[in-house]
């Protein structure tokens, strides 16, 4: 009885392995690893990643995807190790939650001979990834600054609600400050609002208490904008200033499209960049196209004229 069971198990395992071995001959497996949906933007990343995987999975039956969404770096490292050791991936598309913590783990994937695509966040060592896909962070700040300069040619007072103290935030901030330099625009103060609506509300309330004259608010993120907008409305000062956010949340783009005076523009930094990265990586295997290199998506200024093309009713962000 016991022998029979063992034999049966062996047969099952052997068949299974054979299946994998056969499949590996003509199948390409691509691992996709993203941070868990902890705020609106990463929620968008998860949505666009799933969408791209479904679409490409249908188009290319011989491409298989392994998707993982991880709440923190240790879990993300474990996920990509599993992808290499048990799922035998040929390529990895990764948006590292914390690039510094993830760098050596990603380098190991590369050293194991896999094609590596890094999205959005730069690793701490250069030359690990084959392909780098990202939005233009300094551009996000610079474009917001250019618009504010254009709207306030005679100068004016600006307050800044920043994200979290991480490199992306610094790049955006430096981009903004670099562009403002030499103009009559005066930055009254900057504070962290942690890419969070509640914090946006709180920090903006205090700025409104502190500064009697504010002409423009730069929040660098639309989640923060929504909190700041409520605070401005509560203080009844919506006619005195306008808010420039970033990232392209649907609710804000809709307001821009409707010609809302408080949010006249937005700057794109779309979570859809993950889909771009997955598409490019897939075409490396399916089309024999060279895709290695750097692919930087523009941080476009979204105005009432072009808002239509950024609207997507299904997007959660």
């Amino acid at each position: 009885m016991k022998l029979a069971k063992t034999l049966m198990a062996s047969v099952v395992i052997a068949t299974g392995l054979g299946g994998v071995a056969l499949a590996q001959d003509d199948t390409v497996t691509i691992g996709v690893s993203v941070p868990a949906a902890t705020h609106g933007w990463t929620g968008g990343v998860n949505y666009f990643a799933q969408q791209a995987i479904n679409r490409l999975g249908e188009t290319y039956p011989n491409v298989e995807f392994v998707f993982a969404s991880s709440p923190d770096s240790p879990k993300q490292i474990a996920d990509i190790e599993d992808m290499v050791s048990t799922r035998g991936i040929d390529a990895l598309v990764i948006l590292p939650g914390d690039p510094d913590a993830m760098t050596s783990a990603i380098k190991q994937v590369k050293d194991a001979g896999k094609f590596v695509t890094v999205v959005d966040r730069q690793l701490s060592i250069d030359g690990v990834e084959n392909l780098y896909v990202a939005g233009d962070n300094p551009g996000l700040g610079a474009n917001a600054a250019e618009y504010i300069k254009e709207r306030l040619p005679d100068g004016g007072n600006v307050v800044i609600l920043r994200g979290l103290p991480i490199p992306i935030d610094q790049q955006r901030f430096d981009g903004f400050m670099g562009s403002i330099e030499g103009s009559n625009i005066m930055v009254l103060e900057n504070q962290f609002a942690n890419w969070n609506r509640d914090d946006g509300f709180r920090v903006m309330q205090d700025f409104l208490t502190r500064f009697p004259e504010i002409d423009a608010v730069w929040t660098q993120d639309d989640d923060i904008s929504l909190g700041a907008i409520e605070a401005i409305k509560q203080a009844g000062r919506e006619d005195e200033m306008f808010v420039v956010g970033g990232a392209g949340m649907q609710q804000i783009i809709q307001a821009v499209a409707n010609g809302d005076a408080l949010t006249p523009v937005d700057v794109s930094y779309s979570p859809a960049m993950i889909a771009t990265a997955i598409e490019l990586t897939t075409s490396h295997f399916t089309g024999g196209i060279q895709v290695a290199g750097r692919y930087i998506l523009d941080s476009t200024l979204i105005t009432q004229d072009n808002a239509e093309q950024f609207l997507d009713a299904d997007s959660p962000f």
């Binding site: 609106g40 504070q191 962290f192 208490t209 409520e230």
Partner: protein, 334 residues
């Protein structure tokens, strides 16, 4: 073991003796107010004070519940995630009921009832696992913290749940308006605080909480139903989280996975600053109120000045928290 138990009720009765332990949080609050006045002339304006108090009221109401939980020797780490999931479900219920009830207070009251019910059920769940399941409160609520947080992310599809615009318009005044110029959130916070203080000081339930937190075995021998008192503290906590959410939802009209992040730590910090012992056995609700206001003012003052780099905000907050507790530490046993 038996030494500490009789000592505690005695301490509670001599609450108005002006020792450093009682004055500590008040002194820290006074120092902060002085600092605020020197740093910014708008600090004491009506608008600034009501802003700070109104937005602290969520944490305040939750922290009053936490005072009872912690006094009875428990801990609830799930309150922030619970608030997020209650806010999310309330919004979904209200949006879902619009076709039936139409736009108006009917929908909002139904949403509020759903919120309170959910808070109570979440409290029963936490409480039963801790008392009947005999699992550490830390572990149970660490688990439910993760569960609630994932649930809200799942319900919102990783994005944001937004209340129907017209309903939000009807509901908005609950946060932004007030009675006799005092915003409703502050009034509700004050009411909850007064009732909480009375319950803690003047009722058998309040004394039982302190007795259990001080020495569970002795409490059991004094024929206190330890499990039921504990269970009630968690239900109370759940319902108070829901009350806070009733005031939170009309502010931004939305819930997402960032709603209520780290509220559990803020609530616990407020309770401890207020003089309640983390080990349990002694709690004071008025202290918690002072603790909440201290935390609210720290954030406010940091935003009202530009000397401290925004990178150091966390450090500054930490220093104030430690100072407030240092001012009220018990005298060295001689």
């Amino acid at each position: 073991m038996s030494v500490s138990a009789p000592e505690i009720p005695a301490k509670a009765r001599t609450g108005f003796k002006w020792d450093l332990k009682t004055v500590g949080p008040l002194a820290a609050l006074a120092l902060l107010v002085l600092l605020g006045i020197t740093l910014n002339e708008n600090f004491l304006t009506y608008n600034n004070i009501t802003n700070v108090l109104a937005r602290s009221s969520f944490i305040g109401i939750i922290a009053i519940g936490a005072t009872f939980v912690i006094t009875s020797g428990g801990l609830d780490l799930s309150v922030g995630s619970m608030a997020a999931v209650i806010a999310g479900v309330m919004i979904m219920v209200m949006n879902w009921l619009i076709p039936t009830f139409g736009i108006g207070w009917g929908v909002i009251l139904a949403g509020m009832a759903a919120g309170i019910l959910l808070g109570g059920v979440a409290g029963v769940g936490n409480g039963l696992m801790i008392t009947r399941g005999r699992i550490e409160a830390f572990i149970v609520t660490l688990g439910t913290m993760g569960i609630f947080r994932s649930l809200v992310t799942f319900l919102a599809d990783g994005g944001t749940l937004s209340l129907n615009f017209q309903v939000a318009d009807v509901y908005r005044p609950v946060y932004y308006n007030g009675f006799l110029g005092i915003p409703y959130p502050i009034l509700v916070f004050a009411l909850v605080a007064i009732i909480g203080e009375l319950v803690m000081r003047r009722t058998a339930f309040g004394r039982h909480c302190a007795a259990i937190g001080s020495n569970e075995q002795v409490a059991r021998y004094s024929s206190i139903n330890v499990d039921n008192v504990r269970l009630i503290t968690y239900i109370l906590q759940g319902i108070l989280v829901a009350v806070a959410v009733l005031l939170y939802v009309p502010r931004l009209g939305s819930a997402s996975s960032t709603t209520g992040v780290l509220w559990e730590l803020e609530a616990i910090a407020a309770v401890i600053i207020g003089g309640t012992t983390l080990k349990g056995g002694y709690g004071r609700v008025w202290g918690t109120v002072v603790g909440v206001i201290i935390l609210g003012l720290i954030g406010n003052i940091l935003n009202l000045q530009s000397f401290i780099s925004p990178y150091l905000n966390g450090a500054f907050q930490g220093v104030i928290i430690i100072l407030a507790v240092l001012l009220q530490r018990p005298k060295r046993p001689s």
